[in-house]
Symmetry: C3
Subunit: 463 residues, 3 copies
C-alpha cells in the first residue's frame, strides 16, 4: 500500500488517538474549493482526461521543477509542447526520478491519487512505470473517470476557477446551460488589466473597453468597465476576486492623481515606481468595489515571477521558475486599511510566500482589523510542515476564527482530494497536540476542526 | 475544571514526567516582576478592583483586539469610555465571544484567574456569563481581594511599574509612607521626553525643565534634567530604564552635532530622519548614563504604534492597534556598542517583536557582547509556542545565562500569576525535552529552571 | 558518562527505535569533510597537539565568545597571544565556566571529544579541571594522538582545508611528498584577492602577479592569474572554491565595465557601492571559471565581520565577533543565474546565516535551478535545533537530493567526529519522524540516510 491510515498523525500513541478521532469526524465532509486553477472547460466538455504524462507531469510545475533541478531537461518532459509525442517516454523519465520527491508534498498528493483513484499499491519507479501508465490510461477512459463523475465522487460542493476579466466565461455558461448541477464558479482575477507590467497590458485595456462598451482610455471609463465585468462574474456565481501582485503595496491617490497616473501607464509609459504605484492604487480601487458588490478580495503577493530568464524566454510564463521574495504587509497595506480597514462588511484574505510574516505581521493585523482574514499556507508552504508552522505561528495571535480554512489552489484536478486530506490531517494533528497538552478541550477541538474544514471557508467566501 | 495540572507539558509520558518534576521544584517560588504596566495607585489606595468588565475587558488590548477583529464594536465594549455604563452587558458580549480565544494565551491567562482566584470551574460562555459576573463581582469586594492582599497571595517579591520621567511618583511615595512592605518599584521610561514624535514632546521638555530647575532649552541642561530624574527614580527603588522606540537605531554624534540636533527637535522642527537620529542618539545617551548610575537598560523596539488611523483618532493610543514590524539590530546597535559594548558593568536587555532576529541577530550579539542580555519573548510572542520558539532559537548560541528570566509586561494585575505559571511550564517542557534527548543531565535541568525562574532575573535587574 | 547512546533521538519510544536503527546503519561510515579550516601543517609535520588550553580554548571562537559574553576577559583566556603563558590557569577559567555551555552544541562536541578521545567520564567543572588538564596533556603526547593517527582513527576519507590563492600550499605538497596516504585537499578561497575591502587587497593583487607572472594590473591579466592559481590548487587535489562575501550579490558587467571597475579598486579606489559591485562581478567570474575547470563553488554570504570595533582593533580578525545579517538571494543571485543558472555541469552550493531564507528563497531556488545545491546549516545554525529546522524548512520544496550532506566547517580538528555524529543523529531523528508519521517508508529512509552521510557529499563535491 502507498498510504497508511495514520499518515501525518503524531507518533505519540495518545496524541495519535485524539488525531484519529478528530479526523474521523471530518474526513467525509464535502470539499469546498474556493480558490484554484482548474479549467471550467473540463466540466463543460466532460471529455476523458488525457494520458498520464499529459495529466500528471506536463501541467504540474511542482513536478517538473524538481526534475529540472536535478538535470532532467524540460524538452524531454514535453514542457511547452502542445502535444507530448511519446507520453510513455515522459512517464518513464518521471517514474525513474520519482525518488526525488521523497519528503515532499507532491509525493503524498500523487500517491493518494495513484492508490485511491487508480488502485495502484506498488510504489512508482522505473520498474513499475509501464504498469502505472497502462493502468491509469485504461481507467481514464471509463465513464466514472470523466470530469463530472470525479467531481461528484470527490464530494466537491463548490469549485472556483480563476479567470481573466477578458474571459467570456463561456465554459461557465455552458456548464449552467448543460443542466449539470455541479457548482463551478469563476473568480475575478484582474492582474492582466491592472498591472502595467503584464505582457499586453495596453492592448488588454483596449479589449476591456470593447468588451464593456466603456471608454477605457479614461480613468472613470476604465473603472466602470471593471465594475461591469465584476458584475458579470458575480452573475455567473463568483463570490471573490484575486490579486497576484509582486508586492502587497496599496495606495490612496486623489482622483486627479490616479487619473494622471492611469493616462501614463495606459499608453505603456511610467517608470517602474509609477507602475508599482498604479498596482497599489488598483488594490485600493478593488477594495472600494468590493465594498459595493460584496466580492471577497484575495491578495496573493510576493512572487518573483519568471525568475529564470532563459526558461522564461524559451517556455514562457508559469513554468516552475517563480521564486518567493521577502514581503512587507504592515506598511504596504496601510493606505488601504486607513480607508477600509474597519469595514465589517468587507473581507480581504491575505496570503504570503514569506513565512516570517505569520507571527510578525499577518496574525497581528488579522487579529485586529475587522476586514482582514488569513488565507491558508500558499504554494511552497502548502505542505505538512508548512501548514503546521502556520497554525503554530498564527493561532496564538489571530485565533482560529480569523482564518478561512483550506485552499487547494491547484491546476491538478486529480490532486484535490489528496490536498484537502493532507490539510485535514495536519489540522487534526495540531489540534490533537493542543488537546493532549490540555490547552483545549475535546469538545472544542471537534467544533474547531469542523469549522476549519467547512464552516470558515463557507463564511469567509460566502459559499 | 478549567485547568489541568499537566497543561503545557509534552504528551510523551517520559518527557511529561520530567517536566512535572522540574515544575514541582519551581511552581511555588516567588514572583519577580521586573517589567510591567500595573498602576502603583492600586497599591497606594488599596481600594477594591472594579466590576468584571472594567477589570478584564476594558483595559486588556489582547481581549478587545480579538473581539474587534471579529466585528464587535469598540463602543459596545466600553473602550475609551471613562465609566462603563452597563458592565454586565459588556461582560455578556465578551462571554458570548469567549470561544474566539481558543488556542490563544489570553484564554489560558483568563481561565487561570477564573479558576484559581474566583473558584469558577465551568467554561465562560453566554450561558455562564451572569454566573461569572456575579461571582467575580462579589469576591472583588472581599478584603482578601484587595490589591495588597492579592500581591501577597501571589507571592510577588518585587513588582516594577513603568513611568514617565514627568511622573511625580506620588503613588510610589505613598506606598512607602504607608508602611506596607510590598516592594513596588518604578521604571524610568523616557520615551515621551526623548522621542520628538511623541505627542506633546515640546511641552514635555519644558515641563521637565520646570520639574528639575534645569534649563532644558539647552542640550546640557536637558541631559542634566534627565540625570536628575533618573536619580530620583533610583531613590524610589528603580533599578531599570525602558525604551520603546520604533527601531533599535543608536547613534554616536559629537557634542556639537547633538546640541544642534536637539535645538532643532526641541522646537518641534527636524525631518523624520532627524527625529529618528535624535532618538538614536538618546539611546546612546541613556547607555552612557546607565554606566554612571547603574540602571539596567531595556530596549523594546519594533512596534508600529497606532497603525489603525480611524481607531487612533477616535480612541487614542494603546488601543490594540500596534503592529510589529521588521527590526534590525546588527547595524542599528553598532554605534552604541562601539562605545559601550565591552563594558561589563553595563546591562542592556534586548527585546524584539521580530522573531527572525532570535537566531540571526540577537543570540549571536548576546553570545558575544558582555553588556547584552536577551529579554524574554515579548507581547505577541509571550505565548506557549512563542516562548518555545525563543528557547529553541536562542539557546544554542546565547546559552541560558545570557537570558534574564520572565517578564509579565502586563497591565492586568490579576493575570500575573497565570503568566508566570505559563512561562515556568514552558521552560520545564523545553528542559524536559533536552533531558529526555540526553542533551542535558537531570541535575543541570533543575539548576537551570531555578535560574530561569528567579536567579537570572534577580541578577540581570539587580533585584 | 558524558554521552548517552540515545542522545538527540526523539523521546517517543517507537520513533526512537526507528532512529536507532537508521543510526546503526551510518554511524561507522567514513567521514567526508569537504569544507573546513584545519591546518595542513598539522598533517605535514605530524607533531603532537599542544596543551588543552591552546588546543580547546584559544582557537575556538565558539568557546571564548560565550565566556567573553559573560564577563571573562579575552586576555585571561590567552586570546591573541602567541603562546599561553599559563595554560592550566586558562583551562581552570574555562572549566569553572563550563556550565555556560549547557544547551549549546559546543557542549556536545566537547563532551564527545573528552569521553571518546580522552576517556573522561566526569563532567568538566572547577573541581575536575586539573584532572582533565593532566589527562588530556598526557594523552596528547602519545603516538596514537598524533594528527595522522587521529585522522585514521576518525575514519576520515578526505579532509578539505581552506586556503588563500597566495598560499604556496607547501604543507599540502609536503604531505604528498611524505608518502602518507591521508587525503588532505586544499580549497580555493580567493576573498583576499577579490574583495577590495579585504586588508592589504592592493598589495595582494601585486603579490598575485608576482606569483603567477601575469600582469595583475590589467583586468585580463588578473583573471589569468586567478585561473592559474585555481589550476594549481586543482593539481593538488582541490575540487572546490569558497567565497565569503558580505552579501550574495552577483553582477553581469560588460568586459569594458569590469575592466574600468577593476582599475579603480585595484589602486585602492572606488566607493563602497563600487567595491560591492566588484565583489558581485567576481562571483560571476568565479562561476564562469568553474564552468571551465569544474571546481565546485561554495558561497558563504551574510556575515558582518568584526562587528566589535574594540575587539577588532585589539585582537584582530576572526575573534568571535562576527554577527549574521539579513541576506537576500532572490535578487542577488539573478545576474549570475541569468548567465549560468541552467548549466547542469556547474555546481554552486549556497549557505546562509539567515534561516528565514530556507523556505522562502533557498529551497525554491535549489528546487528549480540545475546548478544550485543547498549547503548544510552553517556556523551558528550548525546545531541540533538548527539542523532540524533546516530539514523541516528546506526538504518539502528542495527534497533531499538538492542538499549536499554535512560540512563540519571547523578549525577544531578534534571536534570533527563529534560534529559528524551530531549531524548523523539529527538526520536520523528527522527521518525517523517521517517514517513514524508514514510520510516515508523504512527502506527509503535507510537509502536517504546513507546518501545524507556519504553519497550526496561525494557527488556534490566530486570527492
Amino acid at each position: 500500500m502507498l498510504l497508511h491510515e495514520d499518515r501525518l498523525f503524531p507518533a505519540e500513541p495518545a496524541v495519535r488517538q485524539i488525531a484519529r478521532s478528530l479526523y474521523a469526524s471530518v474526513k467525509d465532509l464535502p470539499i469546498i474549493s474556493p480558490h484554484g486553477h482548474t479549467q471550467a472547460a473540463w466540466f463543460a466538455d466532460n471529455e476523458p482526461f488525457p494520458d498520464p504524462a499529459t495529466l500528471f507531469v506536463q501541467p504540474d510545475h511542482y513536478v517538473y521543477r524538481m526534475l529540472y533541478s536535478q538535470g532532467v531537461s524540460m524538452d524531454d518532459l514535453g514542457i511547452g509542447q502542445r502535444y507530448i509525442e511519446d507520453p510513455r517516454k515522459v512517464w518513464r523519465i518521471f517514474a525513474s526520478h520519482y525518488y526525488l520527491f521523497r519528503g515532499t508534498p507532491t509525493r503524498m498528493w500523487l500517491d493518494f491519487a495513484f492508490q485511491e483513484l487508480f488502485g495502484l499499491t506498488e510504489r512508482l519507479s522505473a520498474k513499475t512505470a509501464d504498469h502505472y501508465f497502462d493502468t491509469i490510461s485504461a481507467k481514464l477512459l471509463r465513464p466514472e473517470f470523466l470530469p463530472r463523475a470525479l467531481f461528484d465522487r470527490f464530494k466537491i460542493h463548490v469549485l472556483a476557477t480563476t479567470d481573466s476579466p477578458l474571459d467570456t466565461l463561456s465554459d461557465h455558461q455552458a456548464i449552467r446551460a448543460s443542466g449539470w448541477k455541479g457548482r463551478i464558479v469563476p473568480t475575478f482575477r484582474p492582474d492582466s488589466v491592472v498591472d502595467p507590467d503584464f505582457p499586453g497590458f495596453v492592448e488588454r485595456i483596449a479589449a476591456l473597453g470593447q468588451m464593456t462598451s466603456h471608454d477605457t482610455a479614461s480613468w472613470s471609463g476604465y473603472l466602470k468597465a471593471l465594475r461591469q465585468r465584476r458584475s458579470f462574474f458575480k452573475d455567473l456565481g463568483a463570490t471573490a476576486t484575486d490579486h497576484g501582485h509582486p508586492t502587497a503595496q496599496t495606495a490612496n491617490l486623489s482622483h486627479a492623481e490616479a487619473e494622471q497616473l492611469f493616462s501614463k501607464v495606459r499608453t505603456g509609459g511610467g517608470t517602474a515606481a509609477e507602475r508599482e504605484l498604479f498596482r497599489a492604487q488598483m488594490l485600493t480601487e478593488m477594495a472600494r468595489m468590493s465594498l459595493d458588490d460584496g466580492l471577497v478580495m484575495q491578495i496573493h503577493p510576493g512572487s518573483f515571477r519568471n525568475h529564470n530568464k532563459q526558461i522564461h524566454e524559451k517556455f514562457g510564463r508559469d513554468t516552475g521558475a517563480d521564486i518567493p521574495q521577502q514581503t512587507d504587509y504592515v506598511h504596504a497595506l496601510k493606505p488601504m486599511l486607513d480607508l477600509f480597514g474597519n469595514e465589517t462588511s468587507l473581507t480581504i484574505i491575505l496570503f504570503t510566500l514569506d513565512e516570517t510574516t505569520y507571527s510578525r505581521e499577518l496574525a497581528p493585523l488579522a487579529g485586529h482589523y475587522p476586514c482582514l482574514r488569513l488565507g491558508p499556507p500558499w504554494w511552497f508552504h502548502d505542505s505538512p510542515e508548512g501548514m503546521m508552522r502556520f497554525r503554530e505561528q498564527a493561532t496564538e495571535t489571530a485565533g482560529f476564527y480569523n482564518t478561512v480554512g483550506f485552499n487547494d489552489d491547484t491546476r491538478a484536478f486529480l490532486s484535490i482530494p489528496a490536498r484537502h486530506d493532507v490539510a485535514r490531517r495536519i489540522d487534526c494533528a495540531f489540534l490533537a497536540r493542543l488537546v493532549a497538552e490540555h490547552r483545549l478541550e475535546h469538545d472544542e477541538a471537534f467544533e474547531i476542526v469542523s469549522d476549519l474544514t467547512c464552516g470558515l471557508v463557507r463564511r469567509a467566501y460566502k459559499l
